[in-house]
């Protein structure tokens, strides 16, 4: 999964993830580049307040990733590229997120029955 905040590819990737999990599949998510920022613990559970709708809660991407991981235990695994994460200063991730060196990417691909690449860095 590639950069958020530039297109709807993160929305698409997580919609597909949800659909696959609901059908009983096991899914690995691998984040690259700025997508590694999605699971930072510093994001907290909610986005900053909406000045136009102060009392409404808007989930952070970390909260949404955690929601997915909690809803589908043992079938969803979330990996991130350590280099990309370090390169962007994203040091503290959700505890379920496993950072791997970019050289480990092929091992994740080999472990998957099918790989869908939705954007890069």
């Amino acid at each position: 999964m590639g950069a958020p905040h530039g297109s709807d590819q993160v929305t698409s990737a997580l919609r597909l993830t949800q659909a696959l999990l609901e059908r009983g599949a096991s899914v690995q998510v691998w984040t690259c580049g700025y997508a590694t920022l999605l699971t930072q613990r510093a994001l907290g559970p909610d986005k900053p307040r909406n000045l136009a709708d102060w009392n409404r809660d808007y989930p952070s991407t970390a909260a949404l990733a955690e929601e997915l991981l909690t809803a589908f235990p043992g079938r969803l695994y979330w990996y991130g590229c350590r280099f990309c994460s370090d390169d962007r200063g994203a040091a503290e991730h959700l505890p379920q997120v496993v950072l791997r060196p970019p050289a480990g990417y092929a091992a994740n691909v080999a472990a998957a029955g099918k790989t869908l690449l939705v954007g890069v860095i």
Binding site: V10, L38, A52, T61, L64
Partner: protein, 136 residues
């Protein structure tokens, strides 16, 4: 010329790229920023071009998304964003050639109420009337 005769120190904000992350941005999109710029800078006009002209077309609300066991009903809704801008007094135009590419240039009734159509180059010719031109 369907624009105001004089921009009177207003700011022109041009939005060309659309759909920049409905799930991660939610309310905090370029139109939310436009609302704040309108408030701070004393008056904004918005020109929608390119893919962003689709924001001007009326459509049902954005459907919610299921994530885990949660229903996320706070995805970015650009049409609601435009309605908020219009209610705040922001002028909103959609550029005709890009509407035409969608087959919508001849159907102004498909646009959200209050959005006007700008002819090609019409707004560019008025850049000098604006205090500031920004691409959002």
């Amino acid at each position: 010329m369907r624009h105001q005769e004089k921009a009177d120190g207003r700011v022109l904000a041009i939005v060309e790229r659309g759909y920049r992350g409905a799930l991660e941005k939610q309310f905090f999109d370029e139109l939310y920023l436009a609302t704040e710029l309108h408030r701070q800078l004393g008056g904004l006009d918005v020109l929608l071009r390119g893919q962003a002209v689709t924001y001007a077309l009326d459509a049902p609300p954005v459907p919610p998304l299921r994530i885990g066991n949660r229903t996320v009903d706070t995805l970015t809704d650009p049409r609601q964003g435009l309605r908020t801008l219009l209610e705040a007094g922001v002028g909103v135009w959609a550029e005709e050639p890009d509407l035409a590419a969608l087959g919508a240039a001849g159907s102004p009734d498909r646009l959200l109420a209050g959005i006007r159509i700008a002819r090609e180059g019409e707004t560019a010719s008025r850049w000098t009337d604006y205090r500031m031109v920004c691409f959002l």
